[in-house]
């Protein structure tokens, strides 16, 4: 399993490097064809490169720390037995801990459902995992400002909770309907 993922990341890395090479070649050709654009393109790219260099290492360190320090079993254990407002808050918080890409969260979500966690909380957890991440909020704060970041974060949490509740209603309703029709 672990080996498999290693091969996968290597393949992905290879693909990214190829795309980078193609991008560089296309850019060089474009800049040779349009010499008047050279200054803007190079200075803008350089500017953003410097900006990224100032923040990306910090973001990566934080992601690494969270990945190692927070065991997945703990997340499942805490989220499996809570409900109500506490469950919602925990689902958001545990989802927001940056412990890996979205596909890592799917088996955790399955484990949560099997443990009897509410569907709404599992949806909230998955969505929070997908779109609320502490390092990501830091990048958003850096590049789009505090107001933009805070407002989007607030709205996302509110609407993710609404979505989780709605999806739970829909799934329960359709499960009931399916049961009803098989009984007839």
């Amino acid at each position: 399993m672990k080996n498999n993922r290693n091969i996968k990341t290597k393949k992905g890395m290879f693909r990214d490097v190829i795309i980078l090479g193609v991008t560089v070649i296309i850019t060089i050709i474009l800049l040779l064809l349009f010499p008047d654009k050279q200054k803007t393109v190079i200075s803008k790219s350089w500017e953003i490169f410097i900006e990224m260099l100032g923040i990306l290492p910090a973001v990566m360190v934080l992601m690494g720390l969270f990945a190692v320090m927070i065991p997945k079993e703990m997340v499942v254990k805490y989220l499996g037995k809570t409900s109500g407002l506490k469950g919602i808050i925990l689902a958001v918080l545990l989802g927001a801990l940056p412990t890996g890409p979205l596909y890592v969260a799917f088996p955790m979500a399955v484990a949560l459902i099997n443990k009897g966690a509410r569907i709404s909380n599992v949806i909230i957890f998955l969505s929070a995992w997908a779109c609320i991440k502490i390092p990501q909020e830091m990048m958003e704060f850096r590049f789009l400002g505090l107001k933009f970041m805070a407002l989007r974060l607030f709205l996302t949490i509110v609407f993710v909770i609404i979505m989780g509740t709605l999806i739970e209603q829909i799934i329960e309703w359709s499960d009931k309907k399916a049961k009803g029709s098989t009984n007839e």
Binding site: K44, V59, M60, L62, V68, C131, R142, L144, R152
Partner: protein, 160 residues
């Protein structure tokens, strides 16, 4: 140095020191993971940086504005949301792109829609999500995420 960068780096440094005091081996392990993920993401970061440079150099603010700016109306927001759904850019490096678009004429609504669908919806991971959680739940989650992304974007456009 930018104050925001300083805050972020100090926060990371604080966490690192705290972790190091608590558990040295685990901290070392996490630094290795950090270095590996940095290298892993680097090509994509460079692609995005070059892309932003090209975008700012070749597409005029008027052009951007026509596609995802004031002049584009709801269509522009929808287009941005669709782009966010389909594109597979690591979310943490989508923000410089979003900032560049914003500075050259995109609306807040369009940019917010783009980032929100980009982070919330996983088209690449969708087959896996269906396999693990079932068709109903996976499709409902991703489909409704698209709708709420647009709602969030419009509220942001009104407030900011």
């Amino acid at each position: 140095m930018d104050i925001k960068v300083l805050v972020i780096n100090l926060f990371a440094l604080g966490c690192l020191i705290f972790a190091f005091v608590k558990d040295k081996t685990k901290t070392k392990q996490s630094l290795i993971i950090a270095a590996k993920s940095f290298l892993r993401i680097l090509p994509v970061v460079l692609i995005i940086i070059i892309f932003i440079g090209l975008l700012l150099g070749f597409v005029t603010p008027d052009g951007i504005s026509r596609i995802i700016g004031e002049k584009s109306g709801f269509k522009g927001t929808l287009l941005a949301a669709l782009a966010g759904t389909i594109l597979h850019i690591p979310s943490i490096i989508s923000f410089p792109l979003a900032a560049a678009l914003l500075r050259s004429g995109a609306t807040i609504t369009a940019v917010a829609a783009f980032i929100t669908t980009l982070t919330m919806i996983g088209t690449i991971t969708l087959p896996l999500e269906i396999k693990e959680l079932g068709k109903k739940m996976a499709l409902l989650r991703n489909g409704m995420s698209f709708l709420i992304a647009i709602v969030i974007a419009f509220i942001m456009g009104i407030i900011l």
